[in-house]
């Protein structure tokens, strides 16, 4: 049974990776997860400088989900390259750096400096463009195109992945735009903009007022988006959103994902990624699947 999949130039031993921001820089989970067994490790979103992020409170639980507004707290590129990456290099597993910026140039600088240092660069385009009054880079085709174009020019060796926002009227179109601009793969979905209010105090539950929804609640939405995109793309899709078990991962593959990422589930079950890999293995052996890639887009609609 062959569980390996390929995302751009990244050869993964199985389709299961971690979702950015939910797995720290890898070490935090090494006690519960065999990092060598992961398909790939995606680290917390990096900016050029370290960021302190938003004030607390930053998280709130919702029905079958959670909202977060971490505000992209991270150690910054230098500390990542000096302190975090060398440790991760002890493992066989490909490393994907997730990057974010406040200006288009921040993206291209990050991409240039990470190129060749990590197997993959995943570009989080759901960030406010400080120069355009804080509207998200992902929110218009023009600004999305600008970012993808810039990082494409900066990345020669690593695999370039664009991480798409679900806050769009047609994610398939956004994905297609990324493909046309030369992205090697797309990943979806990022968290969904969300709000919760404390009716006692009338204040929002998060200091940042709004945040991003993740967890099982969003799974059906994410699956629909993967399927919409799959039918229009040639490049591979990394699917995520509420995956907690092996069959969830299989669902994403049947909808069109080549690989999957596990986010919020890590918090509920720290060895979720391992259980999901085992679950996929069990499914494949039960169904007599030789190559796991056979599943991608295999939903039967007639």
């Amino acid at each position: 049974m062959d569980l390996s999949v390929r995302i751009g130039k990244i050869q993964m031993k199985n389709p299961v990776m971690t979702a950015s921001g939910t797995f720290g820089y890898g070490g935090e989970y090494s006690e519960f997860v065999d990092l060598d067994r992961l398909g790939a490790i995606v680290v917390k979103g990096l900016s050029l400088q370290a960021r302190e992020g938003n004030p607390s409170p930053r998280i709130w639980e919702t029905p079958c989900g959670m909202i977060n507004s971490i505000g992209l707290q991270n150690v910054g590129l230098d500390a990542f390259l000096k302190e975090k990456l060398p440790w991760l290099r002890r493992f066989q597993t490909p490393v994907i750096a997730n990057i974010l910026g406040s200006f288009p140039e921040e993206y291209s600088n990050l991409a240039r400096r990470l190129d060749g240092e990590v197997e993959g660069i995943e570009v989080n385009v759901s960030c406010p463009n400080v120069r355009k009054g804080g509207i998200l880079f992902s929110s218009t085709p023009e600004s999305l195109k600008e970012i993808v174009g810039r990082v494409r020019d900066s990345v020669k060796q690593s695999t370039l992945i664009i991480k798409l926002s679900p806050a769009t009227s047609d994610i398939g179109q956004d994905a297609l735009l990324c493909e046309k601009e030369g992205a090697d793969a797309v990943s979806m979905i990022n968290t969904i903009p969300a709000l919760a209010i404390d009716t006692e105090t009338r204040k929002p539950r998060l200091s940042n007022i709004t945040g991003g929804l993740s967890g099982p609640a969003v799974k059906p939405i994410a699956l629909k988006m993967v399927w919409d995109s799959y039918r229009r793309l040639r490049i591979p899709i990394i699917g995520m959103g509420g995956i907690t078990c092996g069959t969830d991962a299989i669902e994403f593959m049947l909808a069109g994902a080549t690989a999957v990422a596990v986010g919020t589930a890590n918090f509920i079950n720290p060895s979720a990624t391992m259980d999901i890999i085992s679950g996929i293995e069990a499914y494949a052996s039960e169904k007599g699947i030789r190559k796991i890639t056979e599943l991608t887009g295999g939903m039967q609609c007639s």
Binding site: F32, S56, R58, I59, G65, N266, F267, I268
Partner: protein
């Protein structure tokens, strides 16, 4: 030894309508906790709602058991309160940085507001005889566990917001008295309670340049330092309550 394990509920002892003690059978594989550390408990019997684990300080333990002192604060704790012996619970822990031992010759003074006693009890148990406990609650009904506390031999002073037992006031009043009567000479303070109380305590300790350790609370997701969800501004930096805390030294603020 794994910090992720499952344990059977052996007892749920109701102390009041809102408060209970959850006793679990401690499996041999579960590592030894320290005072001030906490566990993330996955709620039993639910589907994926409530989704997140709930953090609880370790209240007491020995080779065979783990005990938690819990107040019903919402739906998760209500589900726990409604569980029964024989059910299994999934835990991650012990987690976080607990209370350090008092440096040589220093007198440990525990300052507990409300549920703070859950986190401070292991210090009381370990440091009991020579120490001092300043114990405040809203009403006398909420001055729980005086028996178990008494059994440790610790010197204890109590106070309630409404004066229903002992003096009327807050633990800060007790603290000022203790200073007056010289009981705080060479003391190291361990504080746990509502943020308002800790804030005053912090001010007091800073002002008097005293050594002290405060246990904070924040909403948590991973408990492992990975999600950055529990970060709080402490001394100008966003520190993770689950990893750099929950106990912080006064000097960090």
């Amino acid at each position: 030894m794994s910090r992720h394990f499952s344990a059977e509920i052996t007892d749920i002892r109701q102390l009041s309508r809102e408060h209970f003690i959850l006793t679990l059978h401690r499996p041999p594989s579960a590592p030894e906790p320290g005072p001030g550390q906490f566990f993330l408990i996955r709620l039993p019997r639910c589907g994926e709602d409530p989704l997140l684990r709930r953090p609880f300080s370790i209240f007491d333990w020995d080779e065979g058991k783990l005990r938690f002192f819990i107040r019903v604060a919402g739906k998760g704790t209500a589900i726990l309160a409604g569980s029964g012996p024989g059910e299994r619970i999934d835990l991650i822990g012990p987690l976080g940085r607990g209370y350090p031992e008092p440096s040589d010759g220093k007198r440990p003074v525990m300052v507990s507001g409300g549920m703070g006693i859950a986190s401070l009890f292991p210090m009381i148990r370990e440091q009991g005889k020579g120490g001092l406990l300043l114990y405040g609650a809203r009403t006398s009904d909420e001055l729980h566990l005086l028996d178990e506390i008494g059994a440790t031999g610790i010197e204890t002073e109590t106070i309630t917001d409404d004066g229903s037992s002992g003096r009327k006031g807050t633990v800060l009043d007790l603290l000022h008295d203790a200073v007056q009567s010289g009981k705080m000479e060479g003391a190291v303070v361990y504080g746990c309670g509502p943020w308002g109380m800790l804030h005053s305590l912090l001010g007091f300790l800073k002002e008097n340049r005293m050594e002290g350790y405060l246990s904070l609370e924040e909403r948590m997701a991973c408990g492992l330092g990975a999600c950055m969800g529990c970060a709080k501004e402490i001394g100008g930096r966003m520190l993770r309550v689950c990893l750099e805390g929950p106990v912080f030294s006064v000097s960090e603020f």
